[in-house]
């Protein structure tokens, strides 16, 4: 760990000023501190945002919910309204990490958690994300946990989180404060980036910007589920995960919002798949068609080839469950 300066700002303005000067926010620290010990991250100044007024879960004017950036994963998953109206979110959070980690992990920090790529976390190995231009250790190396969709020649990493996958299925927005004090919102679906030629950028946050909240639209209703396939029952990242919010309209699928974890550099979603399903009678044939479309461009690296059939099967399980068990 490199020496760094620790700062605890007096209120939002002061924080904004420090961030503007290039300091790095730290919330729960469960990801950032680990990476600092490994010197994967080496910020010279940390702004501890934990005492800023960025907490609380509150209703919004249009019937949605605003989750403050500092709300812990534990608090969010335990919130009665979240559990009632956005069960996919509570389930996704509870499928992640451990009690201890969730007690510390925050909503903002969780969105910004970095990839678990083995080569990213080892500073003696090449990695374009950590050190642009150094090459990608995972290509030709071990890549069992890597991307099958949206990867580039520069980087095949995945975004590892669970919470954001549920937020993508829920069409949530990320509320961001700019250094100048103004704010903007970005849909979760476009908050994370694909790697392209600049894998060092995980998401669309710009220098000095800070996440202040996540905004949920009014409850979508329907059947909500989160399926996470992993190597052990708990305390493991997703090999593949599916968040589904499916509303039935009589015998047909009214709408199906789907997002996928473990497949790409971002929570993956594919509007074509959602369109294909809407208005259709659930059937295995339809579900396979959906999987065909979803995985049309999927490409394995060898070790992670299994994610392609695994995604198909997990999607099938999710759609059967969400639509009431078509066969």
């Amino acid at each position: 760990m490199r020496p760094f300066q620790y700062m605890r700002p007096e209120g939002l303005d002061h924080a904004g000023q420090l961030l503007r000067d290039g300091a790095r926010p730290i919330a729960g620290g469960t990801n950032l501190l680990d990476l600092m010990k490994l010197e994967v991250e080496a910020p010279d100044r940390l702004v501890d945002i934990n005492r800023l007024p960025l907490g609380g879960i509150a209703p919004t004017d249009d019937g949605g919910v605003r989750i403050g950036a500092l709300v812990t994963n534990s608090a969010c998953a335990a919130d009665l309204q979240i559990r009632r109206d956005y069960p996919v979110l509570a389930r996704a959070i509870l499928a992640g990490a451990t009690f201890q980690l969730r007690n510390m992990a925050t909503t903002g920090g969780n969105l910004c958690q970095r990839t678990r790529c083995y080569y990213f976390t080892n500073i003696d190995q090449p990695c374009n994300k950590r050190q642009p231009g150094s090459g990608c250790g995972a290509i030709g190396g071990h890549n069992r946990i890597h991307a099958i969709l949206g990867a580039s020649d520069a980087c095949i990493a995945t975004y590892p989180g669970d919470m954001a996958v549920a937020l993508a299925a829920l069409h949530a927005d990320v509320e961001i404060e700019r250094p100048d004090g103004t704010s903007r919102t970005v849909p979760v679906r476009t908050f994370h980036r694909l790697p392209g030629d600049t894998p060092d950028l995980d998401n669309v946050l710009e220098a000095g910007e800070v996440i202040t909240a996540v905004i949920l639209p009014p409850p979508a209703g329907g059947t909500q589920l989160y399926r996470k396939v992993r190597d052990r029952s708990s305390y493991a990242f997703a090999l593949v995960s599916v968040a589904a919010v499916v509303r039935m309209d009589g015998d047909t699928i009214g709408s199906a919002a789907l997002a996928f974890g473990g497949l790409a550099h971002k929570p993956w979603h594919d509007p074509r798949v959602e369109q294909l399903l809407a208005g259709q009678r659930p059937s295995d044939a339809l579900f396979h068609q959906a999987a065909d479309l979803l995985l049309e461009d999927a490409e394995g690296q060898g070790e992670n080839d299994f994610k392609i059939p695994l995604t198909r099967r997990t999607l099938l399980a999710s759609l059967r469950e969400a639509t009431g068990g078509a066969a």
């Binding site: 083995y118 080569y119 080892n122 190995q125 029952s233 299994f306 099967r313 099938l316």
Partner: protein, 734 residues
């Protein structure tokens, strides 16, 4: 006074059963428990020593070659940095268990990625770690490194003498039923909770090392040899060890580095390995490729038995994962071939990890046995029962007490085993396939030389002392119980002192030999004290009854303090394995029964029920023995489903060197573990009639899970760990 016993013959006297105190075998709490759960038990790194500075190892980032330059100036100006040391006495590898001499020391000749090459010392741990990461090292890399253990380019040698008997090929050809299958297992890390840590402190020519080690008497020699000292100049202190599982059998690089740095800087130095270093530079279990050939007659009796393996290690290491160890005697078959091929590779040292040999050997053998049972349509329990040989199939020697059949029956009863219908993929609950499977457990019984002193104090309490370690197994508890039983004392009146080379040299902990070996030394010392007491009481030892602090003979009953009349009695017991080790095939046995659920969509496996029935000779403490068995079964779940070291194919670095990515089972992976202890006395096992227990619970466990998976969904996975991707390819459409 020392009383020695070289064990040449079985001890049929069953002395412990004749004692009166009634504490042996009782499920007593361990005396060290409260200190551990309240955080007052002090582990190696936790000693506060004035003036102590912090060292962090620097490890190689190439897999083979030479260090041509270390640019000390690159870090000496960093805050707090005191020194960069790369000394010829430092060790490049950990010592193998029981080595008693220095391991390979050329730290500047790199043989594997992650090899220690230097240590950076600074005022704080963070400063030292930062500097260690920044140190500029120049290498001359040797492109001939072999980092793929399966590579045809890896030089191989035959390990030990293969066992060749009869004609296996012919037996296979003529068999009524035969299987010829090849399985693979991945490398394992011990994954002890406490990382390797040492604090070195010199006092003139005397070195004291607070360390986390399993076999102090040997480690003392290894450290002394590394530093060119006499063993007497080295004191090791290791009263609490936060798990070892083989990885702390030998002196490891951080201890030697701390000693060298402390000498050079003339101040105490602490070196704690980073978790990544514990993975990358201590010990791995080798990966294995194992071919099993089983030939059976129409009734399922084995006529041919082949177990051939390929494992790997660094050049110059003598250790080869002894996967065929139990195969030598567990099953019959007059036509045999057992052989281990050792490939030389540039990967970290392979050594003892959690039941070396049987852990991965038995899981594969027991999976293959299940394949044979299925091929015959026979209940796999029945197949096991039909294959319990009368004599050691190669050496002809008899077995010592062997309760395998009893374990099979007890385990099957407890579990509710139904072996009648072994057709796969018959039971479905929702999206889960349900199946059951079983396996034998077997682990060779080892004993080791050990000494321990027992002092009966004038007040009638006792002190047991040995440099024996308690690596979390319950040694403090059982040694107190043995002395308590023999001397008629409540175990709370027996103080057990361990983990200090100033005390008599015990056996150390490893290979499940600790209890039977050091326990026998305590037993010997107690017998000597009993003789002394009998003499004082004017009777014979055989007539003497010791109970609740009183000595009784005939109608005389005297309190111990009165009998001792102010004098304390100290005796040292010295136990040595003798001809007994050659005279019998001695082993611990058991049987596993598992029920698993396999997700029909994803191939995820959950163990739903897991029963193990075990026999280990006399049970010294039913609670700690049960806990040991449970621990072994947890390892078994890891070996079956989740654990595997992954090496980068290009440079041999471990890509999953931490507990987030190297998946040991977590609570949710482990169902209620049901352990049945089958009563046994093994007179050939030790004078305690006890054998070992620590490792038994893993030896075959993963096989039961493999077999249950096959029964559940019809997929036979021949590659461990059985992660979802490996099931997926063959899983029926959901």
């Amino acid at each position: 006074m020392t009383r020695s016993l070289t064990m040449d013959r079985p001890d049929d006297r069953n002395r412990l059963d004749a004692m009166a105190q009634g504490v042996i075998g009782q499920p007593l709490d361990r005396p060290d428990g409260p200190a551990k759960v309240t955080g007052t038990a002090r582990y190696a790194a936790e000693y506060q020593i004035a003036g102590c500075v912090e060292g962090v190892l620097v490890t190689a980032t190439i897999s083979k070659g030479d260090v041509t330059a270390i640019d000390e100036a690159s870090v000496l100006s960093m805050p707090g940095v005191i020194a960069v040391i790369s000394d010829e006495r430092m060790t490049a590898r950990a010592a193998q268990g029981g080595a008693g001499e220095a391991p390979v020391q050329q730290v500047r000749q790199v043989q594997y990625y992650g090899q220690p090459i230097a240590v950076v010392v600074a005022e704080t741990f963070e400063q030292a770690r930062d500097a260690a990461k920044h140190l500029k090292v120049t290498y001359r890399a040797d492109d001939a490194a072999i980092t793929d253990p399966h590579s045809a380019a890896a030089p191989t040698e035959t390990y030990d003498e293969p066992i060749e008997q009869g004609d296996l090929a012919q037996a296979m050809a003529q068999a009524a039923h035969a299987v010829d299958v090849t399985y693979t297992t991945e490398g394992h890390n011990s994954a002890a909770m406490e990382p390797h840590a040492s604090i070195a402190q010199w006092d003139g020519q005397m070195l004291t090392l607070h360390a986390s080690l399993q076999m102090l008497a040997y480690n003392q020699k290894e450290l002394a040899d590394s530093l060119d000292l006499q063993p007497e100049q080295v004191r090791l202190v290791s009263p609490y060890v936060g798990g070892g599982f083989g990885s702390k059998l030998g002196i490891s690089p951080e201890g030697v580095a701390a000693a060298v740095a402390a000498m050079q800087l003339n101040r105490p130095v602490r070196v704690v390995m980073l978790r990544q270093q514990v993975f990358q530079c201590v010990m791995r279990r080798s990966e294995t490729v194992q071919r099993l050939r089983l030939a059976a007659d129409a009734e399922g009796r084995l006529t041919g038995f082949g177990h051939e393996a390929r494992v790997s290690n660094l050049p110059e290491e003598e250790f080869a994962e002894p996967v065929t160890q139990a195969s030598e005697f567990l099953y019959p078959g007059e036509n045999r071939r057992l052989a281990i091929e050792l490939a030389r590779v540039n990967l970290m040292t392979a050594g003892s990890v959690r039941a070396p040999g049987e852990a991965v050997g038995m899981q594969v053998l027991e999976s293959a046995m299940d394949e044979l049972a299925n091929a015959m349509g026979l209940d796999p329990v029945e197949l096991r029962l039909r294959n319990i040989p009368d004599r050691h199939p190669s050496e002809g020697i008899p077995y010592s007490s062997r309760k395998l059949a009893e374990c099979l029956k007890a385990g099957a009863d407890r579990f509710g085993w139904n072996g009648a219908d072994r057709r796969p993929a018959q039971r479905r609950e929702g999206e889960w396939w349900i199946g059951t499977g079983m396996a034998n457990a077997c682990r060779v019984h080892n004993i080791n030389e050990a000494q321990a002193s027992v002092t009966l104090m004038a007040d009638g309490t006792a002190i047991v002392a040995s440099d024996m370690t308690d690596i979390g197994t319950g040694t403090y508890a059982i040694l107190g119980q043995i002395a308590g039983e023999m001397l008629g004392l409540d175990p709370t009146d027996v103080l057990v002192q361990l983990g200090d080379t100033d005390l008599p040299p015990g056996s150390g902990s490893g290979g499940s030999w600790g209890a039977a070996s050091t326990g026998s030394a305590v037993f010997e010392a107690c017998e000597a004290i009993r003789e002394h007491l009998a003499e004082r009481l004017g009777t014979t030892e055989a007539e003497l009854t010791l109970k609740d602090g009183f000595a009784t003979a005939g109608n005389r009953r005297v309190a111990l303090p009165e009998l001792l009349a102010g004098a304390e009695v100290e005796r040292t017991g010295h136990f040595k394995p003798g001809e007994i080790t050659e005279a019998f095939a001695a082993a611990m046995y058991g049987a596993f029964f598992a029920e698993v659920a396999v997700n029909a969509y994803t191939g995820e496996v959950r163990v739903r029920r897991f029963t193990g029935a075990f026999s280990m000779g006399r049970v010294l403490n039913a609670k700690t023995a049960t806990s040991q068995c449970m621990g072994g079964m947890v390892w078994g779940i890891g070996s079956a489903l989740t654990e595997g070291l992954t090496f980068d194919p290009r440079d041999g670095h471990i890509v999953n060197p931490d507990l987030a990515e190297y998946h040991i089972p977590v609570n949710l992976d482990v169902p209620h573990l049901d352990v049945v202890l089958v009563d046994e006395r093994d007179p050939a096992g030790s004078p305690l009639q006890a054998k070992g227990v620590g490792e038994l619970g893993i030896c075959g466990a993963a096989g039961a899970i493999n077999n249950a998976i096959h029964h559940a969904c019809g997929v036979r996975v021949r590659s461990f760990p059985m992660t979802p991707d490996k099931l997926l390819a063959e899983l029926p459409d959901p």
